[in-house]
């Protein structure tokens, strides 16, 4: 028994020592001697305590799929043209199929072969229906495996682009991860300007260069009558007060160049100290840009980003060297963010904010203060109540309680768990319920003593009888906490974590540590009467 006791003391001391080592760094100022010796693990604070933004974004997969179908249609048309096969009006039908017309049905054999050779991994022919002697309607659908791959790629690409943008925006410790159902979760601690962040993330950043159609009638275009091959767009003009005026403008539908050749985008200032975004293209882009500007000298070239026209300057002369600028009366911030999204690349599909939770840093601080205050007040009340109720025995219960809280904090820091406001509530709740296990044991020992058992026998009986009840009663709480963790979201998960850690710690302190106290007491061979609870 004695040797056994020594081992148990050793285990308890090690566990509580580890508890101290892990729990302390969260309380001492960094830079002090202790802070350098102890492990570098603070308790992580959740966004509801630190302040920041939590976004759930939905990637518009349907749009990504139909975009891809359109792209495949264009590719197919150009490949077919090289072999003198005329494919008309390729267009996506929903997210499943691609339809087009084939002129000269006698070429259908040849076309089928072409599709099999070039597109068999992506597309399969559903039907080819002869409409009349000149035309056949083809219907192709995405190969299922390619469809899955496409979805994965789109989500990965979106994740990468968003991560890029946020990194360049300069957020410390952002957390960006994939969720189920084509969703992405973005956590930005410490960001106050939610609007700007959401804007930055949500911009598709699809850059296009198109020529302005000067001959079109603006009046008619606004009423919905645009000449064939042209489309209506709006030129954004920033007013002095920061709002935007929209001015209708008609553009030729044909896209002369896109942002895919961009190598850099940065903010510069003109002689009036107005910020603008300077773009540089790679070699191929430079060549295309040179050709485009040469072919359209003295015409207006519209710079379109996400269907908004930012500027439409007149091309004075051929531009070589692969440089262009986007001007538009920006604020410095806007120019900065625009440069970021252009550098980070465009999103493969539009992204929708499905859920947003933003907490200001002041509310986070207030929550911490209120949480800690209620923890301290509640804790002191419990300590006093227990001593009043139990006397000396209460002191033991309180010591165990302090160990318990220490272990919870240590576990939170050691496992790198995140502390949220409900998590603090969980610790507070644990302070109240943790006494239960030791009280069950103590009550039991008290009773056995009253029945006239010897102290040693009473302690033995008390522990063995109460232990099963304690385990039974606590397992249900742990089950509830595990389920909560499994199905809960951020803050609630924090609660589940503190609740389960606290419950397990309370069983350890009550069953294992308190037994040591009793055995130590008994081993001093005091008279039986001194064991009073």
């Amino acid at each position: 028994m004695k040797g056994n006791l020594r081992w148990r003391i050793l285990v308890a001391v090690i566990v509580i020592g580890l508890g101290l080592i892990y729990a302390l760094p969260s309380f001492i100022p960094s830079g002090s001697f202790l802070a350098r010796v102890l492990p570098d693990k603070d308790v992580n604070l959740g966004l509801d305590l630190k302040g920041g933004i939590n976004l759930t974004l939905g990637v518009d997969m349907n749009k990504a799929l139909s975009n891809q179908l359109d792209q495949l249609g264009e590719d197919l048309r150009s490949v077919a043209r090289e072999q003198d096969i005329l494919v008309l009006k390729p267009r996506s039908v929903g997210t499943e199929a691609l339809e087009f017309l084939l002129l000269k049905p006698e070429k259908s054999e040849q076309l089928n072969r072409l599709i099999k050779e070039n597109f068999s991994k992506q597309l399969s022919i559903d039907s080819a229906q002869t409409l009349d002697k000149d035309r056949m309607r083809y219907r192709l659908s995405l190969v299922p495996s390619y469809r899955t791959k496409l979805k994965d790629m789109t989500l990965d690409q979106a994740l990468k682009v968003i991560r890029n943008r946020i990194d360049q925006f300069g957020v410390t410790e952002p957390d960006i991860r994939k969720l189920q159902n084509n969703r992405i979760q973005v956590q930005l601690p410490g960001i106050e300007d939610a609007e700007r962040a959401v804007d930055l993330i949500q911009k598709t950043a699809h850059l296009q260069f198109q020529i302005v159609d000067e001959e079109a009638d603006l009046q008619k275009a606004v009423q919905g009558q645009t000449p064939p091959g042209s489309e209506l767009a709006y030129l954004q003009r920033r007013q002095a007060d920061g709002s935007y005026a929209k001015e209708p403008i008609v553009l030729k539908e044909r896209v002369l160049m896109t942002g895919e050749y961009l190598t850099d985008a940065s903010v510069s200032f003109d002689q009036y100290n107005q910020p603008y975004v300077a773009l540089s293209f790679n070699k191929r882009g430079s060549r295309i840009f040179e050709r485009v500007t040469e072919e359209h000298v003295h015409k207006r070239l519209a710079i379109v980003l996400d269907d908004k026209v930012y500027s439409a300057p007149t091309i004075q002369e051929k531009i070589s060297g692969g440089r262009a600028t986007i001007t538009g009366n920006f604020s410095v911030e806007e120019a900065h963010d625009l440069a970021i999204v252009l550098r980070a690349g465009s999103l493969p599909a539009p992204v929708e904010v499905l859920q947003e939770r933003s907490v200001g840093a002041s509310l986070g601080q207030q929550s911490i203060e209120q949480g800690v205050l209620s923890m301290i007040v509640g804790g002191i009340l419990v300590l006093i109540f227990t001593i009043v109720y139990y006397g000396i025995g209460g002191l033991i219960v309180d010591t165990l309680l302090v160990f318990n809280i220490l272990l919870v904090l240590a576990a939170l820091a050691g496992f790198g768990a995140t502390l949220t406001l409900p998590g603090i509530a969980g610790i507070i709740l644990i302070i109240g319920t943790a006494v239960d296990a030791s009280v069950l044991i103590f009550e039991r020992i008290r009773e056995e003593l009253r029945r006239g058992m010897s102290p040693a026998k009473a302690v033995d009986e008390g522990f063995s009888r109460a232990t099963l009840t304690i385990i039974d009663a606590n397992v249900t709480t742990v089950i509830a906490a595990v389920i909560l963790y499994q199905f809960g979201t951020g803050p609630v998960r924090g609660f589940a974590v503190t609740l389960s850690i606290g419950t397990i710690a309370s069983m350890f302190t009550a069953i294992f540590v308190s037994r040591i106290f009793f055995d130590l007491w008994l081993s001093r061979k005091r008279p039986a009467a001194s064991l009073k609870l």
Partner: protein, 362 residues
């Protein structure tokens, strides 16, 4: 030696009050249920219903009317303004639907309106937007959580707590097959939860797991009363409420298990002649512990309720109700029910680990 509030020889006739308790429980349950029916269902918070919530803190004392006037220029038609947290905190919640709205635009509109009417004496502390898709996902997850809680806890208490793992196995198989069949029929989750509860109660009855039956009835009682009171107080029902409910389930069972364990032990050592006397003795014996544990728990939950701030206020309230009701139900619901149906019949061969702890006394 501390206070002995409960003297060792205390003999309160708890079960004598069981009829009054039945009436009280029944009344509160009916009131809660009535309120849910009158309100046309639970008062879902934005977690489940979707929508936008903006929490604003004002520097000066403003009453509800003034706040409403102050945000009026934002011209957001369906916006509801409600006080938040404790009196005097000057915190208000603005709630509106998220349909066809951009949350950040709404923030700007509200901010501009408040600036126009109040200048700078306000701060937007929090904004939450839950789209309809996420809302229905969260609701589904919450229901799943409740469903699995019922499932696992039923299996656990019929096994470990009753110490009849074989019967628990039958229970588990019965539950899982029953629910699997229902799921094949594409029954909505809410009904699945109700079904899980009914199957559990039915199986407990059929298999004569009377302790488990009492415990489950008590926890259902606690959850319904908490939900009912929340509805009566017009409180929002959201994710944290679910967290509170699951905690209450754990707490309620904890309390019931302690009382039932003592009843079972006293039955084995045959300390009294009648079942009623045995149950009463057991409740009295555990009373000291019950008072201490629920006392300390109430203390901390109360301090959280009063000092914890607006965000955690309703969560603390749910826990507060749960702790009171959970303690009450172990005695007046679970133990009373046990008196009515009798304890689980004991069979020597089915006793597990507990048997070795039996005292030698006769």
């Amino acid at each position: 030696m501390g206070l002995q509030i409960i003297k060792p020889d205390t003999r309160i006739d708890f079960l004598g009050y069981r009829k009054i308790a039945l009436i009280v429980s029944g009344l509160i349950l009916l009131l809660g249920l009535g309120s849910i029916l009158v309100n046309g269902g639970l008062n879902y918070g934005i977690d489940f219903s979707g929508g936008i919530t903006i929490q604003v803190k004002f520097q000066d004392d403003l009453d509800l009317k003034k706040v409403k006037t102050a945000v009026a220029p934002a011209n957001l038609q369906d916006m509801r303004v409600q006080r938040f947290g404790l009196e005097g905190a000057n915190e208000y919640l603005l709630r509106l639907s998220a349909e066809n709205r951009d949350a950040e635009e709404v923030r700007n509109q509200v901010s501009a309106a408040l600036e126009e009417s109040l200048g700078t004496g306000f701060e937007i502390q929090r904004l939450e937007m839950v789209g309809p898709k996420v809302g229905s996902d969260l609701k589904n997850k919450a229901l799943q959580a409740l469903f699995y809680a019922v499932l696992l806890i039923s299996i656990y208490i019929s096994g470990r707590f009753e110490q009849k793992w074989f019967t628990a196995g039958i229970m588990a198989v019965g539950l899982v097959t029953g629910l699997y069949l229902l799921e094949l029929l594409a029954v909505p989750l809410v009904y699945l939860i109700v079904a899980a509860l009914l199957i559990t109660l039915g199986l407990c009855w059929y298999l004569q797991l009377n302790y488990a039956l009492g415990a489950v009835v008590a926890l259902v009682h606690d959850v319904f009363i908490t939900v009912g009171i929340f509805s009566l107080l017009n409180k929002d029902f959201d994710l944290t409420t679910i967290a509170a409910l699951l905690t209450i389930i754990g707490y309620s069972l904890n309390d019931t298990i302690v009382v039932f364990d003592r009843i079972r032990e006293n039955l084995r050592s045959k300390t009294s002649r009648t079942l009623k006397a045995i149950i009463n003795t057991s409740i009295n014996q555990t009373m000291s512990r019950t008072l201490l544990t629920s006392g300390t728990t109430m203390l901390v939950v109360l301090s959280l309720f009063i000092l914890g701030g607006g965000v955690i206020h309703d969560f603390a309230l749910a826990l507060l109700i749960g702790v009171i009701v959970g303690t009450y139900s172990s005695i007046f619901v679970a133990a009373s029910l046990l008196l009515g149906i009798g304890p689980t019949p004991e069979k020597e061969e089915e006793e597990g680990v507990g048997a070795s702890n039996e005292p030698a006394q006769v």
